[in-house]
Point group: C2
DNA sequence: ACAGCCATGTAACTTGTTACATGATTTT
DNA sequence: AAAATCATGTAACAAGTTACATGGCTGT
């Protein structure tokens, strides 16, 4: 496929690769697997499943096996198809960096603030840094909490979910730290530029 | 507005806040401002401008002022409106972390690979790390090149573009480094989990 | 009876994205 | 004259997202 940023679609596919499920289960599984940070509207599960079925990546069957008769209408079980498995393994193997990098909100904000002049850019950088710092502290707290939950869960039924939560909090903390460092770099470059007599307003 | 990830829409708005332009100029300006890493299909500029106009965030006028008569049809100049400025300054002020974090391709890939078992997850982590490392080296080279270009441009006409390229390469390098560190963490956690007798396949 | 969860789905909409058609102007 | 660049737009579709309608089942 040629479209780049498709987490829900391939996420559902990955869950179905692990086990056949129906829509409602997929919602819970998706949220559990992503440490609870990515809520998924149940409606989207069904729209996405319909599109996956349209594209032949999943197949549906009634829950009661092949009884036919008056099989329970409201229990559609989805399974991944061979084509779906192919698509999924392509996704897992695929390099995360081919073609242009995904548009990032923070990067876009800063770069485009620079278009409005050095002063505006500095203001935006400062504001974003403050907000990020607060968020980072919250994430670190969440990480400690996740660690405690993980220890408590041991190898119990919630261990998988706690493990996922830990991984995702790691990632969010790492990202926030990297963004903070980048904002510092931006500020330094902007200040250097201003004192070097650079443009304070866009030239053309 | 309630939709979260809108870089093109607000990007064009930010550029128009700096100066009135027509569509074709916006394409060049957007790409210049984003250091050339985010190419923008010219068609999208016009669709996005049409939507911005529909929403009252930009206004259009013919290029020849208010002549009326047979003003050049093919030179539409767009300007930001008061409502547009409000929207834009909201965007700049807005915290990057309210509500759930954006779905990230790499995080999603790893978390959902974990759903398929520890071994699969380890394979994905390794593959992604190798690819990322290669990309990181390329980015560092690009950054050195951007630095050289910046020095050469001085305060000339290309200085703005070179400056933007530098900022964006900083960001991409920082992100890649953070992702690499995270992948290391993931591997460590996965290995610890495996040797602790954790599940190698999803339980239910 | 009622609240709340389980379960399925649809209609409507948003932004992002590209392929295509069209023509003017400038450069070679 | 041909090629490249400037310039504008439309049609069509993908994926994400939510509000809403519908009903079964379970516990109080």
């Amino acid at each position: 496929m040629h479209t780049a940023y498709v987490s829900v679609r391939l996420g559902l596919l990955a869950l179905l690769d692990d086990a056949d499920m129906h829509g409602y289960q997929l919602k819970s599984a998706f949220e559990a697997r992503t440490g609870g940070v990515w809520p998924l509207n149940i409606g989207q599960v069904y729209t996405t499943l319909a599109r996956l079925e349209r594209d032949g990546l999943v197949a549906t069957s009634d829950g009661n096996g092949a009884h036919g008769e008056h099989a329970d209408e409201r229990q559609h079980v989805y399974s991944i198809t061979a084509a779906g498995r192919r698509e999924l393994s392509d996704w897992f193997a695929e390099s995360p960096v081919e073609g242009p990098p995904p548009r990032d909100e923070l990067i876009a904000k800063v770069l485009l603030a620079v278009a409005g002049g050095t002063e505006r850019a500095l203001a935006v950088v400062t504001a974003q840094r403050t907000a990020l710092f607060t968020a980072l502290q919250a994430r670190r707290r969440a990480l400690r909490a996740a660690g405690a939950a993980d220890a408590a869960a041991g190898t119990g039924p919630d261990a998988d979910e706690a493990f996922a939560a830990e991984l995702v909090q790691d990632a969010l903390v790492a990202r926030a730290e990297s963004e903070l460092r980048w904002l510092d770099q931006c500020e330094a470059r902007l200040l250097a530029r201003r004192s070097a007599g650079g443009p304070t307003r866009r030239s053309s």
